[in-house]
Symmetry: none
Subunit: 513 residues, 2 copies
């Protein structure tokens, strides 16, 4: 498999590469077992089992860390990095193994333990602060989380900004200099659109939703049928219910996603299901000849989110999808849906309305929620903003950009779980996902001239197949930005998303672009 240079005998090199692959397989297996423990904990573990599950998770985490930091991996990498003519999969494996090894070894063990302990404590104080609507309970832990994040950045290293080191953890190569122009493009184009909708748009009729009760059984059938139609393979995965919807599971043959149901809102479960189905089909589409190899895993969080947003928004909130799905809706909810047309459904699932809660935000306002978090994180890490000034800054920015102000800290600074888990630098990948999804669909459309008709017929196979070939099957062989460029012909940009959003909102709300 490896073409070798003169000074290194073939058999030796095969040995080094194979040994690295063996070690990475072992690490991957530890990760698979850990995924199942976590999935079970979230979805169906009995409550009293929590303490012993924590011991099991700590054990598996220790087993993974020991293997990841084995100095033999460093030795193997140094040898393999000397080879100049690896093929693209081999060099991706070496590059990705190097990234993981450096990330694992640059953080001292005591520091990792300190972070883990602090995050456990912090999750508890955040939960209490949120329940009691009292930021002061969380304040000191957040301050320490920021301090630890800065130390983490210093251990990991960075060129320009500390925050860059944190961004890079969730999408390789991401930085403020890459993100600033993307968010600026969004701010300049999307903010005026939201303003126009607020001033001149007519709110769609939501009464048919609000005045009815939506049985869980019907929502479950709808969720299942739509996910199957998109192409999620239920022989290699599951659908369950959980408080916080997510997609997990140990491997591409065992992908498990969850959703949640509300009697008063049927969109949450269906669009949540389509979102997780997007993540799930990505996992199921991984290149199976690269099982247990880093090059065969799904790419960074931005690419992952592009797949969920594709099905949830780009497809799920299109008029064609509403035309196709209307009969399914009517089958499950004949009375509630008796007077609802496809166009009415389409208008309702596309309600644009500035709100306080990110996870319930529409496509137009969503990225503004992320932009606010991004700007705050930058200032948090640089030290421009003190912890005590955070809550008001949050509220001020919501007022400035969305025209709404939280009536309580729980709806403001305390709303997201991320910082309580030490995940600073994670939020921007949500916006990347939105941008990538639009850019990918625009590229797919040029290969699929009958795309709209296919969606109207519920024939999602061609689009899924396009994603399989251009995204899923490419695993992590390329860096995220390079994958986008290979698949679409251009580097990551906000243009496709802005064009899509402006066109759709103008059509929905009858306002000029």
């Amino acid at each position: 498999m490896i073409q070798v240079m003169k000074q290194l005998p073939p058999s030796d090199l095969m040995d080094e590469y194979e040994e690295l692959m063996e070690r990475l397989k072992d690490i991957a297996l530890v990760g698979q077992v850990g995924s199942l423990l976590s999935w079970d904990q979230e979805v169906l573990m009995p409550p009293k089992a929590a303490a012993l599950r924590a011991e099991q998770l700590a054990w598996i985490s220790k087993e993974g860390h020991t293997r990841q930091t084995d100095t033999r991996i460093g030795e193997l990498l140094e040898i393999l990095e000397e080879i100049t003519d690896l093929d693209e999969v081999q060099s991706a494996n070496v590059r990705l193994a190097r990234e993981s090894y450096d990330k694992a070894t640059k953080l001292p063990t005591e520091f990792v333990i300190e972070m883990a302990k602090h995050n456990s404590k912090s999750l508890i104080s955040w939960t209490e602060a949120r329940a009691k609507d009292d930021f002061s309970i969380f304040r000191d832990d957040l301050a320490k989380s920021i301090e630890l994040a800065r130390m983490k950045a210093d251990y990991l290293g960075y060129d320009e900004l500390r925050y860059d080191a944190l961004l890079d953890l969730y999408e390789s190569g991401l930085s403020v200099s890459r993100l600033d122009p993307l968010f600026e493009g969004l701010r300049n184009n999307v903010a005026p659109l939201i303003k126009a909708v607020n001033e001149r748009g007519t709110r769609p009729d939501m009464s048919w939703i609000d005045e009815n009760t939506w049985e869980q059984g019907g929502q479950e059938v709808l969720s299942q049928k739509v996910s199957e139609s998109i192409g999620f393979d239920f022989e290699a995965g599951r659908r369950d219910a959980s408080t916080h919807p997510f997609c997990g599971g140990p491997n591409p043959d065992d992908v498990r996603w969850t959703t949640r149901y509300s009697d008063s809102d049927p969109f949450g479960s269906l669009y949540g299901s389509m979102h997780e189905t997007g993540h799930g089909t990505y996992e199921q589409g991984r290149p199976r000849n690269l099982d247990f190899q880093p090059a065969g895993t799904a790419n960074g969080l931005g690419i992952h989110e592009s797949q969920s947003r594709l099905w949830e928004n780009q497809i799920g909130r299109s008029l064609e999808f509403c035309e196709w799905s209307l009969p399914l809706w009517k089958e499950q909810f004949p009375e509630n849906m008796s007077n609802v047309s496809a166009e009415q459904l389409w208008r309702s699932v596309n309600l644009v309305e500035p709100s306080l809660i990110r996870v319930e935000a529409d496509e137009a306002t969503y990225n503004i929620h992320i932009m606010i978090r991004y700007e705050i994180e930058k200032m948090m890490i640089s030290g421009e903003l003190e912890v005590d000034d955070l809550p008001d800054k949050w509220d001020d920015m919501y007022e400035e950009y969305l025209g709404v102000r939280a009536s309580s800290r729980s709806l403001g600074i305390l709303q997201d779980i991320h910082w309580s888990m030490g995940a600073i630098g994670y939020f921007p990948t949500y916006t990347l996902g939105n941008l990538y999804s639009a850019q990918l669909l625009a590229a797919a459309r040029s290969d699929l001239p009958n795309h709209d008709e296919q969606v109207r017929d519920g024939d999602f196979g061609p689009l899924l197949e396009w994603m399989r070939v251009h995204v899923h099957q490419r695993g992590s062989i390329l860096k995220p930005a390079d994958l986008i460029e290979e698949a679409t012909g251009s580097p990551p940009s906000p243009d496709a998303f802005v064009e899509y959003l402006v066109g759709k909102i103008s059509r929905l709300y009858g306002i000029g672009a």
Copy 2:
């Protein structure tokens, strides 16, 4: 904690014992993780996940084996075995650790991995063979299982028979020479009883069962309520459905049992639930101050089965239990149960009738099912019987001892999961469980003079508490036979079971003892 001899300084000894306990905790954690992987595989894993789950199980099995066979454990044991004044828990830990260490070190690592992989594969072929009613699909895997079992016995060593080495795995000290007279004794006492029932007994009226349909929903409620009433803690466990009912789960805070439902037979799910509830309450009742220590685990399989049989048969099939549960039945199945009395229910749940299916067999014929498997296993391992002759031998023995012959392989040789999991030598513990359960209840009765009234009132607390104190809390501190003697005042014997069965059958069928 440890009183030491002169020649060994106290601090050193503490260190050795604590080090052993630390290592055993690590081994126990590996086992907990493995239990969850197995439970998930049985209950809800998607079908395509089988191959990678096999890799995960092989990995965890290897991790466990590596720890169990660490020569440091051997060194520690040699030191600790020199101490003559350990307390009972300490000496049980040392004795049990020695048993495990010897069993583990006698099996080579590659052999253990091969067995684990084969068992995963074999479970799949058995499932398919059973579904398609085609023994040939399972034949080669069974042949290899037998071969592996023989090799295992050779590695473990034995005095008289290979099969003894396999029996000893499931109940310490069990052997053919202990079991042969026992089965013979049962055959001598129980066979005439079955014959008498068949010739002179009046078959109870089963038409109210057979002529009705039994909705799964009602069976689920009944199963749940009865299990809760017995005292299973659903905050520390779960009830699910699976093809082959079992009790598993990682630890006493997370005990998971399953049952299965049939529209035409409501007894299978209820009595199966009581059986698994018995196993489950035993696991939940383990001495929690001995978490992660071998002395704190449930005792051998015979004792485990005594707890399941206690609730399923000794309690569940008593007239008093039927009197208490009748209103629950009527609540769930008002029409089906409208003309059924407690006595009629009692007669129906105690139908004595030779049949093909072990798990549905009545108390009188059950041990004959076990005897057949025991005799076949003896011949399988000794080589007296070839794999290709197994299916007919099975059917012939059923015809000989029970007067019934399977119309299909699924009802015959393919009915049990055990061999597909490599569990050869396991079946006899079921009969031990039946004997122990009768002996334990007889002893409990002398401490609980109002036992029958308590059952009639659904007050199962006193009996569960008796078992907690005399069985559950004693963990594995004593050897199985010693535990029975401590709890009941006599060594294991078939007398209590025979007396119970003869008394009950005589009363039910009006035949002289």
